[in-house]
């Protein structure tokens, strides 16, 4: 019944899901870094940075991810010559997809962290300033460590959404799960079975993330 699964080797089903995992992991780290920077900009004392952060988030959030991913390939790679240090188009497509996913997801990470900053009591920031800490010290030593712990839940949601969003990379030919599913479902007769296999794969990927991070967010929550 599952014979057809082994008929595919470019990518194989394991290769495809491994690609999904790689996309998720790399984009997850990237968007956490970029999103935190954006959040820092949005609360910074420099008005221009605040403006940039706000504009970035509001623009990127309102563009479909599909448009962003396609644009990395057709715009960044083709017109702006950003080949991402890879001449092989398969590698290049992967790196471009990560770039697009980071650019998009960072906007949501930024908002999650900003909402986390808002949950830190005023007194914390006031006390930090009272003992003479500068803005960057206040943010990095006092506010962000507390904010991160309170936003693990929302960030887990973002990570799960990111896992699902990696499927959009299929639009520029990255050989991940949705790409393989499209190929299989068009060539094989077992539509329902194929659908079930891939759905199961994603449930397996997203369930543990939710459970582990949910447990973590409760454990690390700042008790007040």
């Amino acid at each position: 019944m599952f014979d057809f699964l082994s008929d595919y080797d470019d990518p194989s089903i394991w290769g495809a899901f491994w690609m999904t995992v790689k996309l998720t992991a790399l984009s997850g780290v990237g968007s956490l870094v970029w999103g935190t920077l954006l959040a820092a900009m949005r609360v910074s004392p420099v008005p221009l940075m605040r403006g940039f952060g706000t504009a970035y988030v509001n623009i990127v959030r309102n563009i479909p991810l599909t448009v962003i991913i396609l644009f990395t390939s057709l715009g960044l790679a083709d017109i702006f010559g950003m080949t991402m240090g890879a001449s092989d188009f398969k590698v290049q497509g992967f790196r471009l997809a990560v770039l697009g996913l980071v650019a998009y997801t960072a906007a949501f990470v930024c908002e999650a962290i900003r909402s986390g900053i808002n949950t830190v009591p005023l007194g914390q920031a006031e006390a930090a300033r009272a003992i003479g800490l500068s803005f960057s010290q206040t943010l990095s030593l006092i506010i962000l460590p507390q904010a991160f712990r309170s936003v693990i839940g929302p960030l887990a949601n973002v990570l799960i959404a990111l896992t699902k969003n990696t499927t959009v990379a299929a639009a520029i030919g990255v050989a991940e799960a949705a790409f393989l599913m499209k190929e299989m479902i068009e060539n094989e007769a077992q539509t329902l079975l194929i659908g079930a296999v891939f759905a199961f794969g994603f449930v397996v990927l997203t369930l543990p993330t939710g459970l582990i991070l949910g447990w973590l967010s409760k454990r690390l929550a700042v008790k007040r």
């Binding site: 390939s73 080949t83 092989d88």
Partner: protein, 282 residues
């Protein structure tokens, strides 16, 4: 009473969207696409919307191209005036399905006859012999298929032409697959790919567009033979025969030549002479 107002507003918005979608919805008549020569009936014909010179949706909403002209001529022979024709877009992956379901009467959409497709649909024609070719920059030094080794080659996702090149001619070609030919040409112009491969008839149409005139050339390699046929529902021999008659007449009364001149002339595409019906060049 605020609550009621808000719910009322929400309900109104809902009703509005519903009616709006209802209006935009099924106003197409489910006219019979099956009957042969109908009086007031419409005929649905599948074409491509995005291939200049073959099948293109023009800014004024009309359709142009060689496939469109052939389809219009054939429809006329089947008893349908141009105003009775309804052109629908049939993407490559949907062609067999659309015919099998009877959604379109026939398809003229750069539809090459091959054995695998012939199992699922019947073909009339061929009405044009095209060849797989390469489109390169005007000053490019790519002249042989083997020159593609180590070069960047662009084609459309799911098309067989790029795979042909990689399997048989230049295994070391670096393949980029995009969603459409216009995207490939944009990359070719910017220099991120070195060549674009598909049927020469399609390539010529793109190369002749105003924005690209003089920038590209066809290598004239004839990497394969593509016999364009008109796809008809499997088993509908009557329609196949009628279309074949129409195609023969189109060639003999000069309309075929005119259509070729009108559509391929500006593109400077040196087409093969009109193929004989049923003569599939392997």
């Amino acid at each position: 009473m605020k609550l009621r107002k808000v719910s009322a507003a929400a309900a109104a918005a809902l009703v509005l969207t519903l009616t709006a979608t209802a209006c935009g919805g099924d106003d197409k008549d489910s006219s019979d696409t099956g009957s042969g020569s109908g009086g007031g009936d419409k005929i649905k014909i599948g074409i491509k919307y995005d291939q200049p010179g073959l099948g293109l949706k023009e800014p004024d909403g009309s359709f142009s191209g060689f496939d469109v002209d052939v389809a219009t001529y054939v429809a006329k022979e089947l008893g349908y005036e141009p105003n009775q024709i309804e052109f629908v877009e049939t993407k490559s992956a949907d062609r067999e399905n659309a015919l099998a379901r009877g959604d379109v009467k026939f398809i003229a959409a750069t539809y090459s006859i091959n054995d695998e497709r012939a199992k699922k649909v019947d073909f009339a024609g061929p009405y044009l012999l095209a060849h797989q070719d390469l489109l390169v920059k005007a000053d490019s030094d790519i002249s042989e298929g083997t020159d593609l080794n180590g070069k960047n080659l662009c084609s459309v996702t799911g098309s067989t032409s790029a795979q042909n090149v990689k399997d048989e001619i230049a295994p070391k070609a670096n393949l980029k697959q995009l969603s459409g030919y216009s995207e490939c040409i944009s990359g070719l112009q910017a220099g991120s790919v070195d060549a674009l491969t598909t049927d020469d008839s399609i390539l010529a149409g793109f190369a002749a567009q105003d924005q690209y005139k003089g920038q590209f050339k066809l290598t004239g390699l004839k990497l394969s033979n593509e016999n364009y046929g008109i796809g008809v529902k499997k088993g509908d021999t009557e329609t196949v025969n009628k279309i074949n008659d129409a195609l023969e007449k189109m060639v003999s009364d000069g309309a075929w030549e005119t259509a070729v001149k009108d559509n391929f002339g500006p593109a400077n595409y040196k087409n093969e002479p009109a193929p004989k019906i049923g003569n599939i060049v392997k």
